[in-house]
């Protein structure tokens, strides 16, 4: 074997280098082996990949199972926590705000604390934390008496038993004269808090300003440190960064037609005509006057039968008086009731 003899020849240094080269050459020549054929490698690959898939599948299955198990436990804990928060946060009877009395057209959605969302129907209860998105006009019967009318496109958040935050849109508050003075009804707006003092008023909120129109009685606007009083027939407009402007307005007319359209139904059955006339007067924003004592006497003693449900106040007035000996005329801002045809 010549390669054996060659590795032992040469001087000390040259021999070392030479031997080093030869070692590498020997290793290269001897350690190179013929590879398997591509077909053989393909067979190995096919068998291995099958095992790989089974092994991966079982691992994945196991991991998936563990993940699912932990996921289920986490979900159960989260659900329990959620239910606890829900239970604690869900308002009791004392936080009832009101009840849906009418939904004319379009639907209104309500969302509770970012979780529940449902379409409101007549009879549904509103509670603290609810956030309404009214796509159509809406009438709410308040728990403490009175009503809240909500125009289409309004977003309203129920902030308490007797307060609501107007985020956008238009509402009309109509409270009875005996409404609680200890817990006055409030509308919260960007420009301040509007507080009733036994009255009916409208609030409009948009991106530019907050507008208050008082139709009856008196309203307080709390704005920063200001306390602004507005009486019936007054409009206050508050813009961000500027003072509140004030002007006189009519309490009747086309500006209030949306309010009249949402007027709560008045049940006339078995009730005196005088009560109906007073209701119509308030809803139309016009004072009621009798042309003569006889007309008032007739109104007091006439008991009505039937229904005007769903009829707007002015139409209802016409319809009801047509069945009596009385007539009406609108002169100026006043509704005049008279006997016969007024002649």
């Amino acid at each position: 074997m010549p390669w054996l003899a060659n590795m032992s020849e040469g001087g000390p240094n040259a021999r070392d280098e030479d031997m080093g080269d030869q070692v590498e050459q020997v290793l290269r020549e001897s350690l190179r082996v013929a590879p398997l054929t591509p077909e053989a490698l393909a067979r190995i690959r096919a068998a291995t990949i099958q095992e790989w898939e089974q092994a991966s599948g079982s691992n994945i299955e196991s991991k998936t199972f563990r993940r699912a198990l932990w996921g289920s436990l986490a979900a159960a804990v989260a659900l329990a926590a959620f239910l606890l928060v829900w239970y604690l946060a869900s308002p009791g009877d004392s936080t009832h705000f009101g009840q849906i009395a009418r939904v004319d057209v379009g639907e209104t959605n309500v969302r509770f604390q970012f979780v529940r969302q449902r379409t409101l129907h007549v009879g549904d209860t509103l509670r603290t934390g609810d956030k309404l998105s009214a796509h159509g006009p809406l009438l709410i019967s308040l728990s403490d008496g009175g009503s809240l009318r909500v125009a289409a496109g309004t977003v309203l958040e129920i902030a308490g038993e007797v307060q609501a935050r107007l985020l956008h849109g238009q509402v009309y508050v109509d409270l009875p004269p005996d409404a609680s003075s200890h817990h006055p009804f409030r509308i919260l707006t960007h420009e301040g808090v509007i507080e009733h003092v036994g009255t009916a008023f409208e609030v409009l909120e948009n991106d530019q300003f907050t507008r208050l129109r008082v139709r009856e009685g008196r309203v307080l606007l709390h704005r920063d440190t200001e306390r602004i009083v507005a009486d019936a027939g007054t409009e206050l407009t508050a813009r961000s960064g500027s003072s509140v402007s004030r002007r006189e307005i009519d309490t009747y007319g086309s500006d209030w037609s949306w309010v009249a359209a949402l007027a709560p139904d008045y049940e006339i059955e078995g009730r005196p005509l005088l009560g109906f006339l007073e209701w119509a007067s308030r809803e139309l924003g016009r004072p009621l006057k009798f042309s003569d004592p006889h007309a008032r006497a007739v109104a007091e003693r006439t008991i009505l039968h039937g229904s005007v449900r769903g009829i707007r106040p002015l139409d209802a007035l016409s319809s009801v008086l047509a069945t009596t000996s009385l007539t009406y005329q609108i002169r100026g801002d006043t509704i005049w009731i008279q006997s016969g045809n007024g002649t």
């Binding site: 074997m1 390669w3 054996l4 003899a5 590795m7 032992s8 031997m19 080093g20 070692v23 590498e24 020997v26 290793l27 290269r28 020549e29 001897s30 350690l31 190179r32 082996v33 013929a34 590879p35 398997l36 054929t37 053989a40 490698l41 067979r43 190995i44 690959r45 068998a47 291995t48 990949i49 095992e51 790989w52 898939e53 089974q54 092994a55 991966s56 691992n59």
Partner: protein, 190 residues
């Protein structure tokens, strides 16, 4: 198998299997079909025991440990095989035909000499520490770079260079010793 898993498998196969074939071939006198069986069994067992791989050794080192067991089993089985081959059994005929098919034709004398040479080299390698043998195989048999050898052995590049130098020196010393003995023995017979 997802796209990511497919890529991982492809990478695993590409970087390990050819070297595992070479590792097996160097350590046995078996035919290619047997080598194929050993490598395939090694990989199947590796797949089934993937969860037991802790990463303490490199993946290839772990595969070679499994492969050594397969080689030992194959050697024991070969020892129990009859010394003859029946040409009436189609599988045996095919296996024999495969054995007889040489990848590169060589003159019989040159082939014998090359095989003896390789066997002698490998016997010397076997006498070295395992890491030396693996490093030399990877460098001169599989053509890996020093960086790749470092990754395979789980050491730094500098450590791999040092290891290779020591491995070459150890191989040279033992190779010279073994060839001197062979020469002496050969001289006594001449």
């Amino acid at each position: 198998m997802g796209a990511g898993e497919q890529r991982a498998f492809d990478e695993f196969f590409r970087s390990n299997v050819p070297r595992l074939v070479a590792f097996t071939t160097r350590r046995s006198r078996l035919d290619p079909a047997s080598i194929e069986d050993i490598v395939q069994n090694t990989l199947i067992k590796a797949m089934r025991n993937l969860s037991s791989y802790r990463g303490e050794a490199s993946l290839f080192t772990w595969l070679t440990q499994i492969c050594r067991h397969e080689l030992a089993d194959a050697t024991r089985k070969a020892a129990r095989q009859p010394a003859y081959v029946s040409l009436e059994e189609p599988e045996q005929v095919l296996r024999l035909a495969h054995q007889l098919r040489l990848p590169q034709y060589r003159e019989p004398a040159a082939q014998v000499e090359a095989e003896l040479h390789s066997a002698a080299v490998f016997e010397t390698l076997k006498s070295l520490p395992e890491r030396y043998a693996l490093a030399l195989e990877a460098k001169y048999g599989d053509g890996l770079s020093v960086d790749e050898i470092a990754a395979m052995l789980g050491v730094t590049t500098v450590a791999a260079q040092s290891l290779l130098a020591r491995a070459r020196e150890a191989f040279r010393d033992r190779w010279i010793a073994s060839t001197s003995t062979s020469s002496a023995v050969a001289g006594q017979h001449e």
